[in-house]
């Protein structure tokens, strides 16, 4: 069996990354998981978090994504994310923007009572995951100046 597989990180606007990799660590909605060549085919929902890509030479690259989903099969991993940034390029400004978006979603969900508990809970969870992501990579989640 081949010891690498194809990894694609695709955003709605363009293809961000396309490299052969040895393994990919994904922040699944129900827990982290690692995909390696020969993984059983799966479609996994993602929470906001860090995706770690291990290239063929063992070097690791990390990407911050704001959720989305990943399609895994034995030969490739395709990650569809609405936003994805290499960790090195994650600045406070970008993160503030992401936070503001998550906060807006919570607010919208809370204001529209009709949508039900689940949607509100999901939005709150998204916000919490986003905060965790920020803390993890050393950015302050409280700087986003979204009016409460």
């Amino acid at each position: 069996m081949a010891d690498t597989m194809q990894f694609d990180l695709v955003s709605p606007e363009r293809n961000l990354v396309s490299v052969p990799v040895r393994e990919v660590r994904l922040p699944g909605a129900e827990g982290d998981l690692t995909a390696m060549p020969g993984h059983a085919p799966a479609i996994v929902n993602l929470r906001p978090g860090l995706v770690t890509v291990v290239k063929a030479d063992g070097s690791e690259t990390e990407f911050a994504v704001t959720g989305g989903f990943a399609e895994i099969n034995g030969e490739s991993v395709t990650l569809l994310a609405e936003r994805g940034h290499p960790r090195a390029e994650m600045t406070q400004a970008i993160f503030n923007d992401m936070m503001a978006q998550a906060q807006r979603q919570v607010k919208v969900a809370q204001e529209r009572g009709s949508v039900g508990e689940e949607v509100v809970a999901a939005a709150v969870k998204l916000l919490a995951d986003m905060e965790a992501l920020g803390t993890h990579i050393g950015l302050d989640p409280n700087q986003s100046n979204f009016p409460h």
Binding site: A29, A42, I43
Partner: protein, 291 residues
Amino acid sequence: MPSLKDLKNRIGSVKNTRKITKAMQMVAAAKLRRAQEAAEAARPYADRMAAVMAGLTASAAGSDMAPRLLAGTGEDRRHLLVVLTSERGLAGGFNSSIVKLARLRLAELRSQGKEVTILTVGKKGREQLKRDFGDLFVHHVDLSEVKRIGYDNARGIADEILERFEAGSFDVATLFYNRFESVISQIPTARQIIPAVIDEPTEAGASSLYDYEPDENAILNDLLPRSVATQVFAALLENAASEQGARMSAMDNATRNAGDMIDRLTTEYNRSRQAAITKELIEIISGAEAL
């Protein structure tokens, strides 16, 4: 008969017009290339999304648990028409052709006794529809400040649509936009987005091969709103490319017309100049003869 001076002025002004249309054509050509690149770059995401959706819905569509965005509200009475047009004119028949298609559909739906509401994106479509159907407008999205269409714009529009769907104000939503075929051909297109229309899965039974985490319905619930945004985004990009294409060929025509007009005016100018000279000569000669 216009004087020589008048003719000269007209020629000058048509020449200026030609310069402007020529410049607009070249700008449109440059923008068209960028718009086409953007549309090209967005394709992988949309294709993947469609493929996964096709697989998922094949297994979910039959069950009673299917989300409303997929299965519909069970009715077909109230329609929302989302009309995507441009913010600027001078693009030939670009906006009129979309509006015409929307009008046709509207008349058809009304004759079947359905309720219709309209959501407009872009100033031009709004202007054209306002007089007849102003009372049907539920919302307008203004993109005039947007230089480069991004996914965020599409998501904003999708959120407006989804919010109204959640609130139960329509059963079926249809997008109207121009599909880009080539510089000389843009095809006005209507595409139903709610309930979702799913392309036939390319590989039969592909869905059963996958493990889903969490379960299929949870993923589907998460995916359907994204899919709406993706389709709006794709339509916006097609529209942007079509707009530039339409403007390019309209301005090409205008430039050519201006050139023809200049030729005609120049001929007329030369003729009257020659006529004036001949007249003067005749006057001089007959004056000399009279002596």
